[in-house]
């Protein structure tokens, strides 16, 4: 690129700056400063400064901090080697949290992407597509705190002999069952009930993206297969699914990243009690309830390690896009 070589390297300009300073003093410095292409840097500098201070610097410090003991004073904590790490991978609650995050990752991701795909394809065949799409998508606009209250009310529990006020238990009782403490019944019922809230919130997001991709498939392609006598299932299995697979993969990775960091729903609905703990909520507790910054740092680094593969994936995908431009 011509512009690039013309402008010359910043390093080179820096060296020139030093040389000029020694030769010509302050006037030289001023001239040197003017010779740097501030124009180019000035545009990105505010963003880079903020990102550097709020994201890059703390990330490095937190990794460092995970090898030091409790104490809220950043520099007053004793070096403890891998003690915090031992805690992360042996403590019972942490193991529950890791297990729950795995459960979230599998159930949440498969259901959001799966339902999103089903809805994208099915809704294309009905006339009232727009209104149903809006209904499914609405939860994406509200807060997880709001959604948690919505669903806490759905799961509300009253003893068997009085009227139920939660929809789910009313349904169970109407079908002749006993009311269930949905958020207390450990370990599977309550965790699945929490995951349902997440699925309810994020299916719309997956549906919107997959639907856009589905509408890009040439209709003629599907019609041709149908005329050749392919059943709807085969059209879906052999044409639609392979064509949507790349988009579905992107959406699925987004969902996994989302779910690894899941915090609000658990914080509001159970605060990690009854075996519903997750990594992010545990990190918050270590930080603000127990003031053990060493352990909290180690837990945060676990999250980072789990997410790093997706960072690399994003960067690679971006680099490929740039290359194709």
């Amino acid at each position: 690129m011509g512009a690039e070589s013309k402008k010359g390297g910043l390093a080179l300009q820096g060296t020139q700056l030093v040389v000029r300073l020694s030769v010509r003093g302050w006037r030289g410095l001023w001239k040197g400063l003017c010779s740097i292409r501030w124009n180019s840097w000035a545009f990105v500098a505010p963003a880079l400064l903020l990102i550097g201070f709020f994201l890059v610097y703390p990330t490095v410090m937190t990794i460092f901090r995970s090898f030091f003991g409790r104490s809220t004073n950043l520099f007053g904590a004793p070096f403890v080697g891998f003690d915090n790490w031992r805690f992360v991978f042996t403590n019972n609650v942490m193991l529950t949290a890791l297990r729950n995050n795995a459960l979230w990752a599998v159930l949440f991701t498969s259901c959001t992407v799966g339902f999103g795909l089903i809805l994208a394809v099915l809704l294309d065949r009905v006339k009232y597509e727009r209104i149903v799409k809006s209904i499914i998508f609405i939860p994406a606009a509200i807060s997880m705190v709001g959604a948690s209250v919505v669903w806490k009310f759905v799961y509300a529990y009253k003893p068997a002999h009085i009227d139920q006020i939660g929809v789910l238990n009313a349904l169970v009782v109407a079908l002749g069952g006993e009311p269930v403490g949905w958020l207390i019944q450990r370990p599977w019922v309550n965790n699945i009930c929490l995951i349902v809230v997440g699925i309810w919130m994020w299916t719309g997001f997956c549906m919107v993206i997959l639907s856009a991709a589905y509408k890009n498939i040439p209709r003629a392609l599907l019609e041709a297969a149908r005329i050749d006598g392919a059943t709807e299932w085969r059209v879906f299995r052999n044409i639609i699914l392979p064509l949507l697979a790349p988009t579905a993969t992107v959406v699925a990775t987004t969902m996994v990243v989302q779910v690894l960091k899941i915090f609000d729903i658990i914080f509001v609905m159970t605060n990690g009690n009854f075996s519903t703990e997750v990594i992010a909520n545990r990190m918050y507790k270590e930080m603000f309830n127990f003031f053990n910054y060493g352990r909290a740092s180690a837990i945060a680094v676990v999250l980072l390690i789990l997410i790093v593969p997706f960072m690399i994936l994003n960067i690679r995908r971006f680099a490929a896009q740039e290359g194709g431009r």
Binding site: F43, P46, F54, S143, G146, V149, V150, I209, T254, Y284
Partner: protein, 288 residues
């Protein structure tokens, strides 16, 4: 095209309609229950299910605004609503502003390290914020930024920058090069080109990013908990409602009304600006 009223086709389509109906019901019933409950009398809420209003849905006397008055005045949610606005509007504006400069710089300026730095920005889009709190908090308390609005504006701006920069960048990179060439021939400086040409044609993209970022900050709980340390005078709605759930967990008349207060603005934004919102989501599908 055959007639839609062909009975055979209609029967064949029943399973399709039913499946969609079930999905729609599961998605709408929880919110509907919340909305109806928030207008009911506390004793009715605790005694009977909200669906019992249906046989006499429109008979007066069973609904009132009492619960809303109760949460807005009694529980101080009016203040929290204001706090949420004070937090999210400036934070969104600042981050969109800074991001559009950065996006232009990354898309159209040539400088060393441009590619690597932008890769860093892309990578940081998914970084867990948990990695950042512990080192920043002591600095915040030293600078007296903890528990203040400027403190959380800065934090939200910085945390939103990777995504907003990426989104605006993907739009700006698509602007035809001729436009810049002709501006350069006319002798326009980069800043002038940016302000007079790039910003005006980026308005739709900036609107998407603004809405996206606004809803993100409005709905945020974690960053507010960490940097505002749950002080009631600065707490946004999400923090106040989370506290309400902890302290008044069975008072559904308060919880339902409070939740609806927090959902009202996002719903208005969503229904009036759905187009921009969806566009933002489609552009940002890489973000976690």
């Amino acid at each position: 095209m055959k007639s839609a009223l062909n009975p055979r086709r209609f029967v064949a389509k029943i399973p399709l309609h039913l499946t969609i109906l079930v999905f729609a019901a599961i998605w709408i019933i929880p919110t509907l229950g919340l909305l109806i409950t928030s207008f009911r009398d506390p004793t009715n809420i605790a005694g009977t299910g909200w669906w019992t209003v249906f046989p006499k849905l429109f008979s007066g006397g069973q609904y009132s605004l009492e619960n809303y008055i109760g949460v807005l005045r009694g529980e101080g949610l009016a203040r929290s609503f204001l706090n949420s606005l004070i937090i999210s509007v400036p934070a969104t504006a600042i981050s969109t502003f800074i991001a559009s400069f950065a996006a232009y710089g990354f898309a159209w300026m040539r400088f060393h390290g441009r590619k690597v730095l932008f890769m860093l920005v892309v990578g940081l889009m998914v970084i867990p914020l948990q990695m950042t709190f512990i080192p920043i908090l002591p600095i915040y308390s030293k600078l007296r930024l903890a528990g203040t609005f400027p403190g959380i504006w800065l934090a939200h701006t910085a945390y939103g920058l990777p995504l907003t920069t990426y989104l605006v960048h993907s739009f700006m990179a698509g602007i035809p090069k001729d436009l810049f060439d002709s501006a350069a021939i006319d002798g326009a400086s980069p800043l002038k080109t940016f302000w007079r040409i790039v910003i005006p044609i980026s308005v739709p993209a900036l609107a998407s990013v603004f809405i996206f970022q606004f809803l993100w900050i409005w709905n945020d709980l974690l960053v507010a908990l960490v940097y505002l340390s749950a002080k009631p005078n600065v707490a946004p709605l999400t923090v106040s409602i989370a506290n309400l759930v902890t302290n008044r967990g069975q008072d559904w008349e308060l919880l339902t009304a409070a939740a609806f207060v927090s959902m009202a603005l996002p719903l208005v934004v969503f229904f009036s600006l759905q187009r921009y919102f969806v566009r933002g989501i489609l552009a940002g599908s890489v973000k976690g």
